[in-house]
Each structure stands twice: as C-alpha cells, then as structure tokens.
Symmetry: C2
Subunit: 349 residues, 2 copies
C-alpha cells in the first residue's frame, strides 16, 4: 500500500522556524509528493537539502501556489496577509504561523491536543498560535477538562530564537563581547525596528513585541486573547507578563492558575497531566527533577514541573511549563495541524 | 564639629556581599572609628584596602567582638548562629544578613523604607531580609500605605551573584565554554552542596535554595514569610516562584498585586511610587523605558516599571521591580539599618 503524497509549500523556508519546519516534516515522515520552498525575493536562489535532495528556494508569488495542497506559512505577518488568500484561491489549505489571522472569527486557532476539532471549521486558513500560548494551553487543557479553569496569571521566560535568527546571533555576539570585556552592541532586541535596543546578553528585557495602548505588549495580549479563543472560554481571566531572556531555545513559564473545583490535590493535577497527549510531567523535587530550557530543547513535548498548591487559595496552583519554542511552539504544531487535515479528511471543504 | 565614630566589624569581609558592604560603608561616609574585618579561618590573613588603608582580615571568634559597636554579619547562617549572640554579649549590635534569625519573634526584620520603627525593638540583633524580599516590599509599601494590599503573586528573575562568588564564576566559565562549543561543567548551581547541578549559562533554573516539604523552595518561603513580617500583615496572601537566570547582578520580579481599594488608576500607583523614598519609577512605554538588571546594577534604589492594571480584576495591578541584589538587597540595606541605629540613638538598649 502506498501512502498518498501531498504537494507542500513552505513559505519562509530560509528562516529559523522554516528550517525547523523542514526538519520536522522529514523527521515525522510527512507524506510529501512535491516540496516547494518559497521565500522573499532576497532569499530566493538559496539551496536547501531535504531528505537528501537539493531544493532551490523560489520567490513566493500568487502563482507559486498553483497545485499546492498544503502551504505552511512562517515568513511574517505581512507575507501571510499578501499571499495566504492567494494560496487558498488556488486550492491550498494554509497553516499560518504568523499573527495575521489568529483572531479572525472564521479562522480556527489550533493546538491539536487542545482543540483539534476546530480544524474542521476552516475556510482555507488555519492559524498556528503564538509560541508562548501554545505550550501554556497544552499544559492547561487537561487541567481545565477535569477540574475547570477560571484564572491564569503567567510570567514568561522567553528564548531569543522567538525573535528570529538575527536575535540568536545578537545574543551570541553580545555574550562574546561581554566575556572579552568589550562593550555590547544592541541593534535587534527587544523588538527589531523599534526606536531603542538594549543588550540581552546577561540581562532580562520586559518587552516582547510592541506596546499597546493599554500598557500591555502585543505578546502579552496574544497570550491573553489566544488562550481564551483556543480554550473556548471568554470568561477565563488571563494576565501575562512577557520577558525576553538570554538563552537560545525553549520558553519557560511560571503559571498561576485557579481551577473551579475545590479540594483537588497536587497528585490529581499530576495524574491529569501524566495522562495527557504531548505533555511530559517532570516533577520530582526530592531528586531535583524539573524542566529547564536546556532540557526541553530539541524535543516536541511540553514539559511541566514544580506543580504545587497555593498556600492561601485552595483552588490555586502553580506550575512551571517549558517547551521548545521552535518545535511545539511553531514547526511541530504546524505540522501536527497538517497531519490532522490529512488524517481527518479535512483538506477538502 | 567632629562626627562620632563607631567601632565596626564586618564578618564575611572577603565574600561577595562583604565586598559590597565595605564599598557601601566607604561611599556613604559611614562614621567609623575602628574597622575590624573578620572571616572564616580559611580566609584569615587576606589583605583588604579600605579608604586607602590596608586591613588584615582576622578569623572571627567570640573575642573578636570586644569593644565593637556595630557588627555587620554576612558569612552564612551557621557563622551568625555561632557568633551573633557572642557579639551581642560583648555589647555589639548585630545587623545580620543571613536567614539565621529572620523569623525569630524577638528579632526585627527591617527594610528601613518599610518598617524602620521596628529597629527600636531590637534585643541586640536586627535581621536584614532576603534580597528578593527587600526589593519587593520596598516597592509595595507605598502602595500598601495608600491603597491597602491583600495579595501578591511574584515570579522572580534572579542573578547568580545571589548564590555567591562561586556561582558568578560558574556562569562566566560555563558561558565561555558554551561559546567555544565545549561542554559546560556544573558544580555549584542551583544550590551549592545539593545532589544535582545544572548549567545556568543560557538556561533558567526553577530552584533557588533547597526544597521544603510543601513543594516550595526555601527562597520562595522566605519571600512569603518575610513579606508578611516586614509589612506587619499576616493576612496578605503571598505566593512566589523563584528562578535563577544567567545574569550576574540585580534581581528582577514580575509582581501581581491586589489592593483593597477599588477604582485606583495606574497614575495613582505611579504617584505613590514617585513620592516614595528609595524608589525610582522607570515607566514610560512610549519611549521603551523600564528597568532591567543591567540598568539597575551598581545603584542603591529599587526601580519599578511596567505598571499596568489587570484586565479582569479592577483591584489587580502588575509591576516589574528591579534592584541590585548585592546593594539594596544586602549591603546597602544593612548599612541603612546601621545608619538608622545611630541616627535614632537605638544602639544602646
């Protein structure tokens, strides 16, 4: 029996997430017939190996999507806004890893472990949530399902790779300069193109993405709004403080939650997490077992540790949630959505 | 007019905090008659410059405190337990920067901006709170005084210097190894003497100090218990998650609070903080102004930014609090207590 192959386009193939997207497609043996690697005009012409074959990256245009079944977009919001509908017009289903369509009412926003069934409602575009949202809702879903969830207060510890390859390079270059006793040069972080830049090496920057009028950053508002949409509950109170830190890969999150049921023990939360798809419980304080950005990097799962009951609120719990922001936070979640489209026959509308 | 001088002993003079203690005494022109630098047997004999004079560090023994007026202890809890009462017996007032006596009922635990009047109640020992507690309560006090305070949920971003000079050296050595593409060796962090050690360079470790039976670390319990004692309110709900991060100096804190008054604006919180002693408001998001560990290092004040109202709870606010853990978090707060003892004639009981 031969597995049917699909014509797949990867838009933003030369970026940090694009690279992980290709690695993931290969590793998970995604059934590919033709693979089209697309990018901006600037990166067109580059050569990329995939499963032993050399592919030449082409400039993404509306015509690039003729004959494409699945288009994985991760080239920034403006590219998605310009080309996603063109791809849909030509018959492709788009899995978009930018913030362009996430809050659109007719675009499903999906973390398969949480709301896979929403994929069925797509009109050609399915949005991949923000990396920091994905890992949090993946960890909270099994808890919400069993014990209800009324409140989330999260403080994040986010890796520089979330800001792209240039930010990764900036951390490396600054750290080298600092250790040589030289001045650190800051040109990218906290936000590429913003007025001010500050060193990230041996520092912490309480700004990810631009500020909104309400005093929150766009990253914080993404966590707040996307969580409610993915978890199908406008009434969950969500608050977020997002901080960029000097490590390369994997975001960590200190998450305080209030559940709706009372008299629930840490053991019951452990049990709910242990039985959940895509979650690995790493919580054994006697042996100092808890996840860290370094221990989670390169892995597909969401890791949870430090589960403990609040000392004052009997419905309150604290969790430490870590996951690779480029894999579950981006590439792997997108490929999971694509796998689900195929598995459930949701490609054709 | 001559300023009276005092005989001052610094116990732990060769440590990371001891060094800052001497710098601070010098910088603030503390009225010193005789300065005695004391340490463990191992460090005795070292020479240290102070205001242009060379002092030889002597081993701390009970007899070292004969004739001493003020003894500043920062040589670890076991040294304080062994020698603080010996110093008091000989007429010294001890300002102790360890956790040895902090929760003792008859030992005042003091952040001068918050509860200076507690110093008057001392029986020879005044405790300096934990670094992460000091900066938080300093920021919260003006808010509590004006608007009441019922709840605190804090996630910390703590510098390696809080774990001493060996941890500072470990971060430096690991970062150098990583950037050369070599394996990182971990021997100190998260907790010196614990079973397992993990790299801190380009990582985040959700463990500071040892775990307690309730699942919280000792650092987290310090923040919880000390906050209630310093702020004179057992009923404030406090929860903490403490995380060690790869920067050298200054702790940052993402603090969620609930105040008791309703209809308070961010501008009113700003005003309360602006008028408070020892607090610097750095909160202008239009110009990306907020404190960072690097911007706060080497300064005595507590810096507050990112003040914003919770989107669901009208009594909830979020703050970002940063301060130099070796200065306000340790040396400067101790010297402030010593200054207050003199200024208020509280040395003699």
């Amino acid at each position: 029996m031969t597995v049917q192959g699909y014509n797949v386009a990867v838009v933003g193939a030369t970026g940090a997430v694009g690279e992980k997207m290709l690695e993931t497609l290969s590793k998970k043996n995604f059934p590919i017939n033709e693979l089209h690697l697309l990018s901006s005009k600037r990166s067109a012409g580059k050569e990329i190996e995939f499963n032993g074959e050399t592919h030449i990256v082409k400039e993404a245009t509306p015509e690039s999507f003729e004959g494409i079944d699945i288009a994985l977009f991760s080239a920034g919001g403006s590219v998605s806004k310009a080309l996603a509908h063109e791809a849909v017009k030509r018959g492709a289903v788009v899995v978009d890893n930018t913030s362009a369509f996430r809050m659109d009412k007719d675009v499903p926003l999906v973390v398969p472990e949480v709301n896979e069934e929403d994929i069925a409602k797509h009109n050609g575009i399915i949005a991949n949530p923000n990396c920091s949202t994905i890992q949090m809702v993946a960890a909270l879903k099994p808890i919400q399902a069993k014990f209800g969830l009324s409140r989330v207060i999260v403080s994040t510890y986010q890796a520089v790779s979330g800001a792209g390859a240039k930010a990764v390079n900036e951390l490396q270059t600054q750290a080298e300069a600092y250790l040589r006793g030289e001045e650190m040069e800051a040109n990218i972080l906290p936000v590429s193109g913003e007025k001010n830049h500050y060193p990230i090496a041996f520092n912490a920057l309480p700004q990810i993405d631009v500020f909104q009028d309400n005093g929150y950053t766009f990253e914080e508002m993404k966590m707040i709004n996307e969580t409610k949409k993915i978890m199908h509950d406008e009434h969950i109170n969500v608050a977020a403080t997002c901080v960029r830190l000097p490590f390369f890969t994997s975001h960590a999150e200190s998450v305080y939650i209030e559940i709706t049921e009372d008299n629930i023990s840490v053991e019951q939360i452990h049990e709910a997490l242990s039985n959940a798809d895509g979650i690995v419980l790493e919580d054994d304080i006697t042996n100092q077992v808890y996840p860290t950005p370094q221990s989670a990097s390169g892995k597909s799962e969401v890791f949870v540790g430090r589960v403990r009951k609040d000392l004052d609120n009997s419905r309150g719990f604290h969790l430490w949630v870590v996951s690779d922001n480029l894999l579950k936070g981006a590439a792997w979640n997108s490929v999971q959505i694509a796998e689900s489209l195929i598995k459930n026959n949701w490609l054709q509308k």
